[in-house]
């Protein structure tokens, strides 16, 4: 009998080996740190491949990329941006529309590393309970920061946004910003499980709305192999997205995780000893029609 505590992902490591059980996690961290490294290569080594930060960057002095939420706020204050910013927004919007909005959260945003660390420590220390908020709080936050921009004429959210602050701070200097980041870590650790990224962050909410039809999805393709170990639920930062695709076969729900809250982090794929999950293209033939024959068609 396996011990109740600290058994997370042990089956997957035993079945697949440590590397395979951390494959997507390691890939994801490489991408996150790689993006930061590209920005830091300039100030640290003098290799100016990318200038700027995640709000706006210029790659090789030609390719502009701009954060669509910051630009939207700026637009709401009444400022009309210039050409480079508009091109940059268009490229970023198109990219996340295609691959899925919250890919930004899991694969780029460095705050994810902080909150994942808090979550892992919470699991290891077996800290339970704490406050709870509805997950749609983040949409309220999103509405709030947009209203503030329109109402005050300033990009108010940028004064405190940890999502902007952490990458900018790492690249340009944190100053007192560490306090805020430490605050988020402690909040997620002690106050609310997956509190920041999963409940409050308006940037994630924005990318969630953006990625409603993202083309790359996680799917519980081999869900009939599921042995109910619950490791995927423990690993998932947005647990509610897994439940129906994994367990809803009898309700006629297909195995593809279509909820736009899914960050496509792939951690469920890693920690599953039975290889239930995999990345699939959204519109591939037969990708989502493995519902039991004769069951109700999915709404």
């Amino acid at each position: 009998m396996k011990p109740a505590r600290n058994a997370f992902a042990r089956d997957a490591i035993a079945a697949k080996g440590w590397w395979s059980a951390h494959r997507w996690l390691l890939l994801r961290r490489s991408v996150q740190l790689g993006v930061l490294a590209l920005f830091l290569a300039g100030p640290w080594l003098g290799w100016w491949v990318v200038k700027g930060n995640l709000n706006y960057s210029l790659t090789l002095d030609t390719l502009p990329l701009a954060d669509p939420l910051v630009m939207l706020q700026s637009l709401l204050t009444g400022h009309v941006p210039e050409r480079n910013a508009i091109i940059g927004v268009a490229i970023v919007l198109a990219f996340y529309l295609l691959v899925g909005g919250r890919v930004y959260c899991a694969w780029v945003c460095p705050v994810n590393i902080v909150t994942d660390a808090a979550s892992a420590l919470r699991r290891r220390l077996d800290i339970r309970g704490g406050g709870d908020l509805p997950r749609q709080t983040r949409y309220w936050m999103l509405a709030l920061i947009l209203a503030l921009a329109a109402g005050t004429g300033s990009i108010v959210w940028e004064l405190v946004s940890p999502v902007s602050l952490l990458p900018r701070g790492l690249i340009f200097g944190m100053g007192g910003g560490w306090l805020l980041i430490a605050g988020i870590f402690l909040f997620d650790l002690f106050v609310m499980k997956r509190g920041w990224c999963g409940h409050l962050c308006p940037v994630g909410a924005f990318y969630g709305l953006l990625g409603r039809v993202g083309l790359v999805r996680v799917s519980a393709t081999r869900r009939e192999d599921c042995n109910d170990c619950l490791d995927c639920f423990a690993a998932c930062p947005e647990q509610h997205v897994i439940r129906l695709p994994l367990k809803g076969a009898h309700k006629g729900v297909g195995p593809m995780i279509k909820d736009s809250d899914c960050t496509s982090c792939g951690r469920c794929i890693d920690v599953c000893a039975k290889d239930v999950f995999q990345f699939v293209p959204r519109f591939a033939p037969n990708a989502d029609d493995q519902a039991r024959p004769g069951a109700q068609p999915e709404q």
Partner: protein, 279 residues
Amino acid sequence: MTAPVSAAARREFMLDTAKMACGMGVIGLGLGLLNRQARALPAGAIRPPGAGSETDFQSACIRCGLCVRDCPYDILQLATPAQQVATGTPFFVARSKPCEMCEDIPCVKACPTGALDHGLTDINQAKMGLAVLVDHETCLNFLGLRCDVCYRVCPVIDKAITLEVQHNERTAKHTMFLPTVHSEHCTGCGKCEASCVLEVAAIKVYPIAQAKGELGAHYRVGWEEKRKAGQSLVEERGLIDLPDRMPEGVTLPGHFDPGSSGGTGALGTGGQLPDGAPR
């Protein structure tokens, strides 16, 4: 569908919505207050060239730091949360590193949003701030010496800063050369503040909004109106010469000052009431 269930659901929905709206109200209030604080640029922080008013700048700047990167002299920095400047926005501190006023203005060119106005192509037209000779008591030139450093380093020498000569009353035989800033030419680069030889600079650059006064819109300067009209707009005859209030113990011959003339009556030393004065 049963009515009681839907009523309870409606009640719960409205309660949840009210809770959420209140929560957001509190957060919004906090952020709003923070924003009001961030709107006030502290005296020591100067924006890069081409930045408009704080309100305009904070609506347009997306905090990307490209201006910081393209500044060849590494003068600009992005504000961090512990600083009083709006988080993530660029500024420089004139006393430590003033703007070198590059002719091609790379910081402005780098700005992707126009927060730094791309219409600014002549750096001499920049209005980053305004130099003010704040302390007349410690400025060496005001003490009668010929320091002149602020004047010498000014990139717009003899226009933005001139030396105005004045008789030195203390020594009675020397001239004081008083550094004088002219706002129409000062770019706010901060060279003067950076090079002031004192422990604490006597000349400082301030954000324009803090340094510059503004005449009432209805004010007319008499001599300019006279020049425009070709003649005085006031008829010469019948003007009343009102009493001149002089500082205590000072008398000027030919001026009527009932307050400080020794209290000997309406007429002071040599004072004559002009025709038409109230008696």
